[in-house]
């Protein structure tokens, strides 16, 4: 069963399925660090998935599609900023509203724009890394992807640098751990959190656009199917470390790509079983390592100056 083709298909699929999780997970991590629990992540991904697909389809450009996806995620995040960061409303209620609203709106839009047809995009052009992409098995799986994939992996390490070495990183951390201290230091808590949530929305949107435009090559209503929630778990378990999000996204990517890989290998497993794998993995991970998941003390609480 573990033939070369099987492993190659599995790894390739894992990268394709893992990239949306990586982008959304890195995004969610920024929000969580800053003290905002972004339950609307699933909705932001879905908004990005539809906008990304629609623009890539009409403009015939993947790059514009990704940007449009990011913009759609940003728009959804703007709602979160207005309601939760500025208004101090319940983050969970607004998050659920964003997810439900995005589910309904994208499905409606798709219905009115495409009726019952599901047009496909051409295969995205890849940028093979010279030399490395010639390697057996891992070459095609890791080094022959659209540029966005390398950018997403690179972003992981940029985030490490931001968190460790820059003031922005410290401000984000403080906004989640001790918002009052950040305020006293003369940095706006709301501004910091607003920027964090907007970054989250953009990244989740781009992740969603990758899912629809490159991963599937088409848009289906509700196509994120829980990816946003898995990304939230990734961010929770990574405890603020971007590299863990990368590793986790790849592991979940493997479990997501197992269906296709097994079909390539000719093994017949009911798709329901495979589809349950990532969620079962989350539960197992939570039961085993849940004690270690760490969330900032001020997570989920709106900040009001002078109010304790």
């Amino acid at each position: 069963m573990f033939t070369e083709t099987f492993v190659a298909a599995l790894l390739l699929g894992a990268v394709t399925a893992g990239i949306p999780l990586l982008l959304a997970g890195l995004g969610e991590q920024i929000s969580e660090k800053a003290g905002v629990l972004n339950i609307g992540l699933e909705g932001m991904m879905l908004a990005g998935a539809y906008a990304g697909f629609a623009v890539a389809y009409h403009a015939d450009s993947f790059a514009l599609g990704f940007l449009a996806g990011g913009a759609a995620g940003l728009a959804a995040a703007m709602l979160m900023v207005l309601c939760c960061v500025i208004g101090g409303m319940n983050q969970i209620v607004v998050g659920i509203a964003i997810t439900l609203g995005a589910e309904g709106l994208t499905a409606l839009e798709h219905h009115f724009a495409f009726s019952r047809s599901y047009p496909r995009l051409p295969k995205a052009e890849t940028l093979p890394v010279p030399g490395l992409s010639e390697l057996p098995v891992v070459g095609r799986a890791f080094f022959d992807h659209p540029p966005l994939v390398y950018l997403a992996v690179l972003l992981t390490f940029v985030m490490v640098w931001i968190y460790r070495r820059t003031h922005i990183g410290l401000n984000l951390q403080a906004a989640g751990d001790r918002p009052a201290a950040l305020d006293a230091a003369g940095v706006g808590v709301r501004t910091t959190r607003a920027l964090a949530v907007l970054s989250t929305g953009f990244l989740a949107g781009v992740g969603g656009a990758y899912l629809s435009a490159v991963g599937g090559g088409l848009f289906l209503p509700f196509m994120t199917g829980g990816d946003g929630f898995i990304a939230i778990v990734l961010a929770m378990l990574a405890r603020g470390r971007p590299t863990w999000v990368l590793l986790g996204a790849f592991l979940f990517g493997i479990s997501l790509s197992l269906t296709t890989a097994l079909q390539v290998a000719g093994v017949n497993v009911p798709t329901d079983v495979i589809q349950m794998l990532p969620f079962a993995m989350v539960i197992v991970v939570l039961v085993l390592f849940g004690r270690n998941s760490r969330l900032p003390p001020a997570l989920g609480l709106p900040y009001r100056r002078g109010v304790r």
Partner: protein, 345 residues
């Protein structure tokens, strides 16, 4: 309660509904549909026609039972967002059990056994999130959502591999004979599961307001730390609140299967759970309010299903309305809070 308070109360409840309907109308306009025709059709088919009204009232049964469970969980401060998995898993188990039991035991025994099993299935499906919350302090939103996806998947596997009826081509469970289903009320098509739902909501309302258990759950909900100081066994109560909430959702699944469908087909997932959440919030966890809102929502669902065929607006629109409702609810709540704060200051 003074007249002024009554008015503000009514505004706080009705304003979000009104705003959501207006904003939803704008969405319809933007999509090129006629909002007045849509809403008119919804009311006509969901409320004003006899078959529509009966269908709406019938639809209330699962929604009310889910709502009853959510009241318990939310009052105890627990975000059980995994209702769909609990509901569907219990529905599938009952769909397999009821047709097997019906020929063997009398109807008056079969029905309670099925409801009890459904309650147990739903409750069992909440044990892991309850454990994670009570012991590890892990956010229950994520855990219940994951368990919900797992529950839906497991329900489908059970239908396709274990409980399938060999006589049908589409994978589905054996069908419960019409005479073995929950009895109808008078000359209507409404089954008595609706009364069970109303009773469950009122019972929960009473439980939370008038019993020691309800009081303890509310203390846990408003301040877990205060609960520990009051000598309340936080862990045990977390398990109890989860089990009650999830069990009632399971009973909702059983009522829908034994009252309406008689079987569960593969990949059937009405996803009622997430839709009932805003109604429970809107009613501020008040049982009577919940019943009223569930009725209104059932009309919207049934009318919306007809409108999908006639006016050409897919049922996805109901999701948009629910999202708008939640959003405006949060906005109105926020404005009310600000107003009070300013008055106090």
């Amino acid at each position: 309660m003074s007249a002024a308070e009554l008015v503000t109360g009514a505004v706080r409840i009705l304003l979000p509904v009104l705003l959501a309907l207006v904003a939803g109308g704008l969405v319809l306009l933007a999509m090129g549909a006629d909002p007045l025709a849509y809403y008119g059709y919804v009311v006509e088919r969901g409320l004003l026609s006899r078959t529509g009204l009966e269908a709406s009232v019938t639809r209330m049964a699962p929604l009310l039972l889910i709502a009853a469970g959510l009241i318990v969980a939310f009052r105890a401060g627990l975000w059980n967002l995994g209702v769909d998995g609990q509901f569907l898993l219990a529905a599938v188990v009952v769909a397999a059990l009821a047709p097997a039991l019906a020929p063997a035991v009398p109807h008056w025994l079969m029905v309670p056994v099925c409801f009890a099993v459904a309650f147990a299935v739903g409750a069992v499906w909440s044990v892991i999130p309850a454990f994670l919350k009570a012991v590890h302090g892990i956010n229950e939103i994520i855990a219940t959502l994951m368990m919900s996806f797992l529950g839906v998947g497991l329900a489908n596997i059970l239908i396709k591999l274990v409980f399938f009826d060999p006589a049908t081509t589409v994978p589905q469970t054996a069908t419960l004979a019409v005479e073995d289903r929950l009895a109808r009320l008078g000359a209507t098509t409404v089954h008595w599961g609706v009364l069970l739902g109303v009773a469950a909501v009122l019972a929960v309302h009473w439980l939370m307001g008038h019993t020691a258990l309800g009081l303890r759950l509310q203390i846990v909900g408003s301040s877990p730390r205060a609960a520990i100081h009051a000598g309340i066994n936080l862990r045990r109560l977390t398990f109890v609140a989860f089990a009650l909430g999830a069990g009632l959702a399971g009973v909702g699944g059983a009522a829908d299967v034994m009252g309406v469908h008689g079987t569960v087909q593969a990949d059937w997932n009405p996803a009622y759970g997430i839709l009932v959440i805003p109604l429970v919030f809107l009613a501020r966890f008040n049982g009577w309010g919940v019943i009223a809102f569930v009725f209104g929502f059932a009309v919207l669902m049934i009318g919306g299903e007809s409108a999908a065929r006639r006016v050409g607006v897919p049922t996805f629109f109901v999701l948009v309305l629910v999202a708008l409702l939640l959003l405006f609810l949060a906005v109105v709540e926020y404005l009310d809070h600000e107003r009070r704060r300013r008055r106090a200051a």
